[in-house]
Symmetry: C2
Subunit: 367 residues, 2 copies
């Protein structure tokens, strides 16, 4: 099957995420996907840019929370307002995907739909687009749900894994039937996966036809399926209030747990890309260049770093300011207009505790 | 002798200092004496305020470099412009004091003159003023040069010492003839001073009559004395250009080296004050309050500190920003509008090396 015989290709960028692991650079109203963590562009802008030439601009959707709708529109001025899929509240990925699928299906019942997180670092673009095209081709049977797996380079405990089964025949990229999904493993299990081979990191990127994912929802999770059907009905009638109500009937579940782990026909394509979900400040060390002493700076809008007798530090700075490090090692230093953070790299995964402390101290303006 | 029979009392605040030990809070155009290191006021403002009630406002002089004249006038709007003693270039303390003494002597030949650094932390004010009055009374003989010594609390190697000789009779505060001045000692020598007793830290605060210091200059250092006389002649004729030229004839020497160590009649008053010259960021730990974990914050203009699982840190922050520390110990963190510094406390004495690195990197705007 060639691309020209495919059903129309839509992409849904999931940009509703919130979190504390990039505080104080990220805030409730400026979460990670807004930050220029790589290449000087907000991650969501880079994510949309990566779709250029793959999807019609008119087929790009952004799913996000109500509170982020306005700031996202500001970042993406060319996004038509009706391409913003607004979740009335955060309910994990399954309701979000149901809402997007229903919204697209209402206008294009056989559309092929790519689902992408807004906050991943991915390169190169051509390999990325080729992999999505391959996934879209696999999904044309109207039944297969396609996910993308990253060949693991270390026994990560922060990612879910996909266990590969039988290879798919006649594909231009290595693809497999999915044998199982595995949630974030402990260290020993992760090491076992690496030793065994045949396990890939679950990238959270998917392709399916909208009719296929809606059918899979009905089959895998009656509550989710009913909510999705109600969303579809409301979307067809363009009843916004009903659409929102239907969303709120959906259970707060991840798409992996609610659907992917149960669906009978799931394929995984081994992604020929460099991929990083940039889970916390120290992860910047893997995606941004380091100086000769292993200091990494992500500096935007005029910021820069001067380091002397310092090594292994991660600096994130925004605005017209210089961060000067002198004689320090393995720190995370974040400097933005109204806040500075200093913590050891090995504490950065636990920034939530600090943010809770900031909240408890009454500094609401910093959240 | 009572205060009313004294010659008129003038105070000269020496505010020409520059330095790197408070970078990036301090800059060439905003040295330490401009910083609100204690009590929320720039140190020079606090220094002037401490003279309130001791000297007529019209008898307060500020000696500084040409480059700092304007910013000082801005900080001290009530200082008459002709009370600013401008040094055409930095030449250490002896030429500065000669210039101030000549300028005052030209209008009031027997004036008593207090000399004060602009960047010391001193309390309480009443004891400070009492000690200066005592010094002024001692100086009324028109010959004695009076210095003030601080009882040492540890074997400091960063201060000069004054060795006390015979006690002065009939004084309301303990005073001594000075046996010798000792330059900054090594550790063992400093420990010896403490064991021996009778040694005081040289505070850099002086009182003398202008005629006495000018006479002492002539006697101790012919080059300095000649320059001082030329300054006096120029000041009497109100010839500004000649005054500047005369200043530039003076050798670059400290008042201790050029005069005090050689003068035959020097007294030291043991100062009944808390005194700190705040030599570097870690010194803020001794003068600002600490939280329960020993974190000290000097925060001005809306800045504040949030610390979690952190101890023994020194934070200086200026402007509407929060410094958040998480899991760090014994760091100096400085956050101002255009720069952030992170270094261990035990590197802070060596900030000059970092500033030189910043200079070499071409960031002139940060100097």
């Amino acid at each position: 099957m060639t691309l020209s015989t495919m059903t129309s290709l839509h992409a849904v960028v999931m940009a509703g995420g919130s979190g504390t692991r990039f505080w104080p650079a990220s805030r409730a109203a400026r979460p990670k996907q807004f930050l220029p963590l790589v290449g000087g562009k907000p991650m969501i802008v880079a994510t949309i840019d990566r779709l250029d030439g793959l999807c019609d601009q008119d087929h790009v959707w952004v799913a996000t929370s109500k509170r982020l709708g306005k700031p996202i529109t500001k970042l993406l001025p060319s996004l038509p307002k009706d391409r913003l899929v607004l979740e009335p509240e955060a309910r994990d990925t399954a309701p979000c995907i149901a809402l997007a699928a229903a919204t697209i299906a209402a206008v294009d019942p056989e559309a092929t739909m790519i689902v992408l997180p807004a906050d991943h670092v991915i390169a190169p673009v051509d390999a990325f687009q080729a992999m999505l095209r391959e996934g879209a081709a696999i999904a044309q049977d109207g039944a297969t749900l396609v996910t993308f797996g990253i060949a693991p380079t270390f026994p990560a405990t922060g990612y879910g894994y996909v266990e590969c089964g039988a290879p798919l025949a006649g594909r231009s990229l290595p693809g497999f039937a999915v044998r199982s999904f595995r949630e974030k493993p402990d260290r020993a299990t992760a090491e076992g996966f690496l030793r065994a081979g045949g396990f890939l990191w679950n990238s959270g990127i998917f392709v399916w036809r909208v009719d296929a994912i809606l059918r899979a929802m009905r089959a895998a999770d009656a509550e989710l399926g009913a909510a999705a059907d109600a969303m579809l009905a409301a979307a067809r009638k363009k009843e916004k209030a009903a659409l929102q109500r239907a969303f709120l009937q959906a259970p707060k579940r991840s798409i992996d747990y609610a659907v992917m782990e149960k669906a009978p026909q799931v394929a995984v394509v081994r992604a020929p890309i460099r991929w990083d979900d940039v889970g916390s400040f120290p992860a910047l060390g893997a995606i941004a260049p380091a100086d000769g002493d292993g200091n990494v700076a992500v500096a935007a809008n005029g910021a820069d770093l001067v380091a002397l007798q310092s090594r292994g530090n991660i600096v994130y700075a925004d605005g017209a300011r210089t961060v000067a490090l002198f004689g320090v090692e393995d720190l995370v230093v974040v400097a933005v207009d109204d806040a500075v953070l200093v913590c050891p790299k090995d504490k950065a995964h636990d920034l939530k505790a600090l943010v809770e402390h900031v909240r408890a101290s009454g500094r609401q303006g910093l959240l």
